[in-house]
């Protein structure tokens, strides 16, 4: 049986083009998408395009939902509490749509803003994922592209190393 040591190889590649070629070769050799991680100091459109089709409108709906949550909170804070307090208004209406509407408007925006932050942190895996090792981190900061690949077998490791060697990559 093949050796099932699971190992992660990280290659530091000079250019995004070479990184793209290397990842294409890795896919051709049978490596799964989930086993390959590309890391860079600036956005690489070629690697990002697959996510455009995956998240059509989902985030927008969540943000709109956050806005509704903000609106509900605003109504609860203003209308409900003002009525419950029994505000003395000298016969004037306790609830005036124009005035309370402004606070609802602001808290809709606040709800949407906070929802955007939360879903971004969650979906991007921030706070959950480990940062790269210091050597890889430095290389990425200097403008290189890091390609990390999970190698479940010794054979896959050799294949990955050969592909990276072709790109002139430094492997960790």
């Amino acid at each position: 049986m093949a050796d099932e040591t699971v190992e992660k190889l990280t290659a530091i590649i000079d250019s995004p083009l070479q990184a793209q070629e290397a990842t294409a070769e890795l896919y051709e050799e049978g490596f799964a998408r989930e086993d390959i991680t590309v890391m860079s100091a600036e956005p690489l459109p070629a690697f990002m395009s697959e996510f455009d089709s995956r998240s059509r409108g989902g985030a927008t709906l969540l943000v709109i939902g956050g806005g509704f949550a903000g609106a509900f909170a605003a109504v609860a804070l203003t209308v409900w509490t003002a009525k419950r307090m029994g505000l003395v208004t000298g016969g004037m209406p306790i609830v005036t749509p124009w005035a309370f509407g402004i606070i609802v408007y602001e808290l809709i925006a606040l709800g949407a803003i906070l929802t955007t932050l939360v879903i971004t942190v969650y979906e991007a895996g921030l706070l959950r994922s480990a940062q790269p090792s210091p050597e890889v981190d430095r290389a990425i900061a200097d403008g290189k592209v890091a390609v990390a690949v999970r190698c479940p077998t010794e054979i896959s490791r050799s294949v990955a190393e050969a592909i990276f060697a072709k790109s002139g990559a430094q492997v960790y």
């Binding site: 995004p16 890391m39 990002m48 203003t78 602001e106 991007a124 430095r138 990425i140 403008g143």
Partner: protein, 454 residues
């Protein structure tokens, strides 16, 4: 990634991270002076809190003066970030890239400072928490029908949104700083970068979040200064109760915001040697925006005063003449000179619309817009409808020192920010200068060479 020459990643990193990793003597001097002035202003505030609000010049009938002028002024300055970063991002103006962070930082700091003034203005500032809506034995509850309560929600929403809008695009640069730092600094940047590693998924989600935030923050910014204007317009005071105040204040805010941004950019460019990044084209483009806003501002101001003059209502005319030819006329005409007479010729002619020219125009505009806020507030209060109640206003050293102190506070915050974070968004800048053929598609020659090799 960006091949060779001046634009290679290493030289960009060196240039843009220089301010973070190297500290010149001017930085220490700036922080020392700004910090000293801040402390003096803080002492003035404590003196006011201890002795009483009477040490400020505000009294009946002029119960809003310097502090509220500063409040409106700083909230106005905060519109810089929203316009430059958000609106230009939404419209796809690529030239915005080196200046977005500068603008977003101005927004956050200006808002923080502006929001201080309602508390500075309190006679008993240590009781500010009484304004917070929680059930208590006092039986008080906020008056949600008051524009001041709307201010609270609007400014806090805008401040929260602006902080997040500044922070999100900062994350990749924080990761870069993490990689290049050591010791405690590295730990702090690690914490702030939230484990960012720059995977395509993270980039995609970040860019999506920034796009969404840009769309949300624009109406919030418009609403904030509209609501601030309603602090005045909702009161039935002569020359305040005007339907035009909402858009007038928003235009004025954007106007002063762009001017403040140009001043900040000119200083940063000089101090941090960012000539290759903050180029004449940026000042030229901002100058054109400033020209547009100057003309718009003049149009609104002219409409406002013409409407009052034509109505000839006695209470309004009293205030009108006090500004145009009375005791406030020097300030009024100084405002017109600073906001229109000087800037428009400078900004209208390309030969004059240089970095120096736009800086001169912008400095004048910042001063002129402060005067504008003062002239909206004080003359109206000094001459209310009932003549027995007319009064006058003279600022005291306490108000003047606190006003200067907030400018120093802004400079201090900005100096500290440039020490901790790159003032030009490194990744955004690099993304903007990436040549088209390195967007990962092979060039025609590379494809032909590959076929020939086979």
């Amino acid at each position: 990634m960006i091949a060779g020459g001046m634009n290679d990643a290493a030289s960009i990193n060196t240039d843009l991270l220089r301010s973070v990793f190297r500290t010149g003597k001017w930085w220490y001097l700036t922080v020392l002076i700004a910090g000293s002035v801040m402390l003096a202003a803080g002492a003035a505030f404590l003196y006011q809190a201890y002795v009483g609000i009477a040490v400020a010049g505000i009294n009946r009938p002029v119960y809003w003066a310097f502090y509220i002028t500063n409040f409106v002024f700083w909230i106005g300055i905060s519109h810089a970030g929203t316009l430059i970063s958000a609106i230009l991002r939404v419209t796809g103006a690529e030239w915005r890239r080196p200046i977005t962070r500068c603008a977003e930082a101005i927004t956050v700091f200006a808002l923080m400072i502006g929001a201080l003034f309602p508390i500075i203005h309190l006679g008993r500032p240590w009781l500010f928490y009484w304004l917070v809506p929680y059930p208590s034995e006092r039986g008080l509850w906020p008056n949600f029908r008051s524009p001041l309560a709307w201010d609270f929600f609007a400014i806090n929403t805008y401040l929260t949104g602006s902080i997040i809008y500044l922070y999100l695009p900062l994350i990749p640069d924080l990761a870069m700083l993490r990689a290049k730092s050591k010791g405690i600094r590295r730990r702090i940047y690690s914490l702030l970068s939230l484990g960012w590693s720059g995977t395509p998924l993270q980039w995609h989600r970040l860019e999506r979040a920034v796009r969404i935030m840009a769309v949300i923050i624009i109406p919030v910014a418009v609403s904030v200064h509209t609501i601030v204007s309603w602090d005045f317009a909702m009161a039935i005071q002569p020359m305040w109760h005007s339907t035009i105040f909402g858009p007038y204040f928003v235009v004025g805010a954007i106007f002063s915001g762009i001017a403040a941004l140009i001043v900040a950019m000119a200083i940063l460019r000089k101090v941090f040697h960012l000539e290759a990044y903050l180029k004449p084209v940026h000042f030229n483009n901002l100058g054109l925006l400033l020209l547009t806003m100057s003309l718009l501002w003049f149009y609104f101001t002219f409409s406002e005063y013409l409407t009052g003059y034509y109505g000839n209502e006695p209470a309004e005319m009293q205030i009108f003449w006090s500004k145009v030819s009375g005791p406030y006329s020097p300030l009024f005409w100084a405002m017109v000179v600073c906001c229109f007479i000087i800037p428009v010729p400078i900004l209208a002619f390309k030969k004059l619309r240089t970095i120096t020219g736009t800086l001169i125009a912008s400095t004048g505009i910042v001063i002129g817009m402060w005067l504008e806020r003062f002239l909206i507030i004080v003359p109206t209060l000094a001459a209310p409808r009932l003549t027995f109640n007319w009064g006058h206003y003279r600022p005291t050293w306490v108000e003047i020192l606190i006003t200067i102190g907030t400018v120093a506070y802004f400079i201090f915050l900005y100096a500290v920010f440039t020490k901790l974070f790159p003032i030009v968004a490194v990744w955004e800048y690099k993304e903007g200068i990436r040549p088209p053929h390195t967007s990962m598609e092979p060039t025609q020659s590379e494809a032909t060479a590959a076929v020939s090799a086979d």
